[in-house]
């Protein structure tokens, strides 16, 4: 793995710009997709951005019986092959952090793919709470 997605929760203001950037970066058929990242409040007015942690021994990859989830060795992201996915919801149920999601508008399973190596959320984050860095 050459890159790492870094989250610095103390800088997050909960402005939800990342959510918007993500939804538009994953738009299909002129419709925004479901955001793969959420700033969630752990205390009133205190937020942390919650997104896929791209686990090394990922439960979503193990749970997929159809090999639809695979790791992209360049970006380090676990990517979903939509052609192989049959929406059995195994990954959604198995992810210990709840970061594989069902997009009911587009009717498909979605998860963070690090935008193929240039995450829109990190680009647009105004406080740099999100960053994609070379390691």
């Amino acid at each position: 793995m050459k890159f790492r997605f870094e989250v610095n929760p103390s800088l997050c203001t909960g402005c939800r710009t990342c959510e918007l950037a993500c939804a538009f970066a994953h738009a299909q058929n002129q419709k925004p997709g479901r955001s793969r990242i959420y700033p969630l409040a752990y205390e009133p007015d205190k937020y942390v951005p919650v997104a896929c942690l791209q686990c090394d021994d990922a439960a979503c990859v193990k749970s997929c019986m159809f090999d639809a989830l695979k790791r992209n060795e360049v970006t380090g992201a676990v990517e979903l092959d939509r052609e192989r996915c049959i929406k059995c919801m195994a990954c959604v149920a198995a992810c210990p952090f709840g970061c594989a999601l069902l997009d009911d508008v587009q009717d498909e399973i979605v998860k963070c793919d690090l935008c193929g190596g240039n995450p829109a959320c990190a680009t647009f984050c105004p406080t740099k709470a999100l960053a994609y860095k070379k390691i």
Binding site: P9, Y42, A59, I86, P96, G98
Partner: protein
């Protein structure tokens, strides 16, 4: 790497790949009902038919199902010749007689200019086109709970002996993959019903929302060695939990800094 010509355009493809995948990857629309990347191709629906030829064949050509035909060096493929369109029209006309209520087939037939079947409609027919996508996906999953039973026009997809399928785990893979949506299932009051068998759905320990069938989770736990506690809570509650834990770390870090 092999080179093939699709509709006059030279295209590179990986050896062993099937024609349909290559054609679709290059943005050419071909109808297909029984094709899915997760299952082995069987060429049951015949809709992905294309015309192939080679330079040394001297104008001789043949029609093949592209989902089953591996790419070869020097292959010349045409996807929308009048002959191919005629074949697809005939198949769609027959399918429309077989399952007149299926919206998917109606839509496909309309695209090829067929609004009403010219054959006699099959009486008491369902929308099943016998493409075996459901049995194939069940096989990939390692269960094989359903299969084709009977012969001739009585052939249908069913669990063994028409009883509750003992190997079914209620994952809905068969219902999800079915191109014509004929496999009925319901989720009601913590219970999923499919193939007349009832499955308990896991309820989230915190909010009570239903996730997947308990037997499906048990199967994944046993087969793929996933900890059981991962399945007890729904994804929304797991995200909140993650936010709370990260919040704790932030608070601790700030304390240390002060």
């Amino acid at each position: 790497m092999v080179h093939i010509t699709i509709n006059g355009k030279v295209i590179k493809a990986t050896e062993g790949e099937m024609l349909l995948s290559v054609i679709r990857r290059h943005g050419i629309e071909i109808p297909a009902l029984c094709h899915h990347e997760a299952i082995e191709p069987t060429g049951n629906c015949r809709l992905c038919m294309v015309e192939i030829t080679r330079e040394e064949w001297d104008g001789w050509k043949k029609h093949v199902t592209s989902c089953l035909y591996p790419v070869e060096e020097g292959l010349i493929v045409s996807t929308h010749t009048p002959d191919v369109i005629e074949i697809r029209k005939t198949i769609l006309d027959l399918q429309l007689a077989n399952c007149p209520d299926s919206e998917v087939i109606q839509k496909m037939a309309e695209e090829y200019g067929i609004y009403k079947t010219s054959y006699e409609v099959v009486p008491e027919g369902d929308n099943c086109i016998m493409c075996y996508a459901c049995t194939r996906i069940c096989e990939v999953l390692g269960r094989s709970a359903i299969s084709a039973v009977g012969r001739g026009h009585r052939k249908e997809i069913a669990p063994p002996f028409g009883a509750e399928p003992p190997d079914c785990i209620g994952c809905l893979a068969c219902a999800q993959i079915c191109p014509t949506d004929v496999i009925p299932w319901t989720d009601r009051d913590n219970t999923r019903t499919i193939w007349d068998r009832k499955f308990e759905l896991i309820s989230c320990k915190e909010c009570g929302r239903q996730t997947i069938a308990r037997e499906f989770a048990d199967y994944l736990i046993e087969k793929r060695n996933i900890p059981r506690e991962y399945f007890e809570i729904c994804d929304n509650c797991k995200r909140s939990e993650l936010a709370r834990k990260m919040g704790e770390i932030v608070a601790r870090a700030q304390e240390v800094a002060i």
